[in-house]
Symmetry: C2
Subunit: 418 residues, 2 copies
């Protein structure tokens, strides 16, 4: 016996003793969660925001306890009261509770091949400010690009109302990122390798003092997708660009893996004898369904936007249609392999695959049906990303805000203003 007899669940793995205060922290987060969820889940204007009493019945806490907790959240400016609403119903009117607007904001940023940008979201999910700059950042100098980005951060912060406190910043990058604040390991299409992005960024006064974390672009876009909720809570997000990234979401959680390097779908092998890839191996999916490969196969220039390809295939260009079919097939094989290994409900096509979805879905679906062992019981759905064009930035901001939502107790004593 040189091993623990009985391992324990991850929940109990947090080897932290529970004190009285732990109850507060937990229930505070529980109440805040309920207010945030309810604000999002409203069918078009239908339900009113929950009152203290609603939260009490929904969570199982007593009205007294909820009252105390809500008062703390209001004091921390995480929650706001709306004026009591006329309900035409007996009894004292309820005070609706909503996420506070413009008080706590998360900064989501992105550096990608053809643009950089920053946006600020508040707890209500509102975009308070947004700046982006188009450009060509292939093989760029990290310091120069990050100086530009810091400038955008400064502009966004200047646009924020005085009441706003910036909780932190998260930066989306198209490459391998060590978990949390580790350095960027490799971003092939930017030409960046082993760059200490956080240090370069926090050297600028616009960013200094802000907690900064990094994450993979596809991971963050997947997070935005999970928030959009269309895909359920268990899906594989595929981000098609020049490279092909992916992120697994299981029960609403993005799965980053041991180092945070999960999701390199583009370097899945489709054919061992296939063409050589930039990564050194042969027959990677990127060579069949990456943006460059796809445009080339369709007989178009690599620099063209996908819209050109879309127009061509809509106009009846047979070569373009063939290119899309074969890309869809390769993608389908890779995704079927994946779904055999990691059982997800839905495959969400994002990036350039979102607009191209009408010409890809059938081929992908067919591969999933024929190659996934469990498909007889639960065929994986193929969906289209609903996270919008700035999904990664939005996801990045959401990551920051989630940290606040998960631990509101840490914000109780925080001062106003940025």
């Amino acid at each position: 016996m040189t091993h623990p007899a009985v391992p324990t669940a991850a929940t109990a793995r947090r080897r932290v003793p529970a004190r009285q205060g732990s109850l507060r922290e937990h229930n505070l987060a529980l109440v805040l969660r309920h207010v945030l969820d309810a604000a999002g889940a409203t069918a078009p204007g239908a339900e009113t925001p929950p009152s203290r009493a609603d939260v009490a019945t929904a969570t199982g806490l007593t009205r007294g306890a909820v009252s105390a907790l809500v008062d703390l959240l209001i004091g921390a400016r995480l929650v706001d009261e709306l004026p009591p609403v006329v309900t035409a119903r007996a009894g004292r009117p309820a005070v609706p509770l909503v996420p506070a607007r413009g008080t706590v904001v998360g900064l989501g940023a992105e550096v990608n091949v053809d643009y950089i940008g920053v946006r600020a979201l508040d707890l209500a999910g509102q975009v308070l400010a947004h700046r982006e700059t188009a450009g060509d950042y292939r093989h760029s100098d990290p310091a120069a690009v990050l100086a530009l980005l810091a400038g955008l951060v400064g502009q966004v912060r200047a646009d924020l109302p005085a009441s706003a406190r910036v909780a932190g910043m998260c930066l989306a990058l198209p490459g391998l990122v060590d978990r949390v604040t580790g350095p960027l390991r490799l971003a092939p299409n930017l030409g960046w390798r082993d760059v200490d992005v956080v240090a370069l960024l926090t050297a600028h006064p616009e960013v200094d003092g802000l907690p900064v974390r990094l994450a993979n672009e596809a991971n963050l876009a997947a997070r935005a997708e999970a928030r959009a909720g269309a895909a359920g809570q268990s899906f594989l997000y595929v981000s098609g660009e020049v490279g092909i990234g992916a992120a697994v979401v299981l029960d609403g959680e993005v799965f980053a893996g041991r180092h945070g390097w999960s999701g390199e779908l583009g370097h899945t092998v489709v054919d061992q004898q296939g063409p050589r890839c930039t990564c050194g191996a042969r027959g990677c999916l990127e060579q069949y369904a990456g943006k460059d490969a796809l445009l080339r196969a369709a007989g178009r220039d690599v620099e063209e936007p996908v819209e050109a390809l879309l127009a061509a295939v809509a106009a009846g260009d047979e070569r373009a249609a063939r290119a899309l079919r074969s890309a869809g097939e390769a993608l389908g094989v890779a995704l079927a392999n994946f779904v055999n290994l990691v059982d997800v409900e839905t495959v969400v096509l994002g990036g350039i695959y979102a607009p191209l979805a009408p010409w890809l879905t059938d081929a992908v679906t067919a591969q999933l049906r024929s190659r996934v062992l469990a498909s007889a019981w639960a065929q994986a759905r193929v969906g289209v990303a609903a996270g919008g064009p700035h999904a990664a930035m939005t996801g990045a901001a959401v990551v920051v805000l989630r940290a606040v939502a998960d631990d509101p107790a840490a914000w109780l004593g925080a001062p106003a203003g940025a």
Copy 2:
């Protein structure tokens, strides 16, 4: 805005209010966990089991609190005191605390292609009883096989000491199993399809009244492997048999996927134009590296045990060596795809791959090195399973015991005896 503004972590996703009692439950589990871990983690007889004071300093609870909790655990017969040990040190001697033996037991069972079996483990990790029956269960009748299994359960229970309380039973099956107690969907090599195993099993008096859960064989073997701890806490377990299963373990947790169907590595595509597989697709890994395919490629009979192949290759049989090399290569490609998608530290070779590992590891390692994008920073290790021959059964019993360890509060008032 038709979505929650800020999603929350899975930990807070348990929408349960924390009451005073929650502290007890949590800290009770915390203390028990510490005692169980310490009992396992002992280097060869070196450290003595922890005392109440040790637990207090390790967990951060006060000695008073730990004392109260330990007394409850002793009362529930989950923990035992050993006689105070002479330490040749000033001060009152400590009372060592160890997991109770022979009091709470978990039943782990397995139905596989060539044997069925049942074993009983207690909290200390001791095997209290074990029965197995060899046989050929290809294309067998589920009811008949499960009747045999129920018989073994009866024998094992009869072998248990009178003090033992059976906490539950978990059954390992080589196929797709719905999460928790759902029906067995498909076990290709048993020829079972959509069988309500739990109902068939609990119909027998030997099993009646026992909570029974099912799980995939590879998942449970991976759990036993995680317990053995040799592979770290983040690995991919590969179970090579006639079929090839796999299970992902991340941070010590087995990852079952949406329905619990993750890990069908055997039906990963290695070559789209390859030979047709029993599942209907072409070029599945099983056709290259499954037990039958491997033996056939080595020019041996499918019915032979792998030991024969081992002997042949050790004796210099060139054809056998070639078969192993090419199987290793195919396995390596499939595993490299996987590691690109799900970033794990280690790949653990189990099942028939464990004894064959010396002839497979090089080929697999080479594929991982050349095909995994992140391999320049953290090459995934290739290891050999240490869980032993009955890994799945052990893992199944551990699953049952873990449920007890995670919620000792539920066992406080439990009566003695089975």
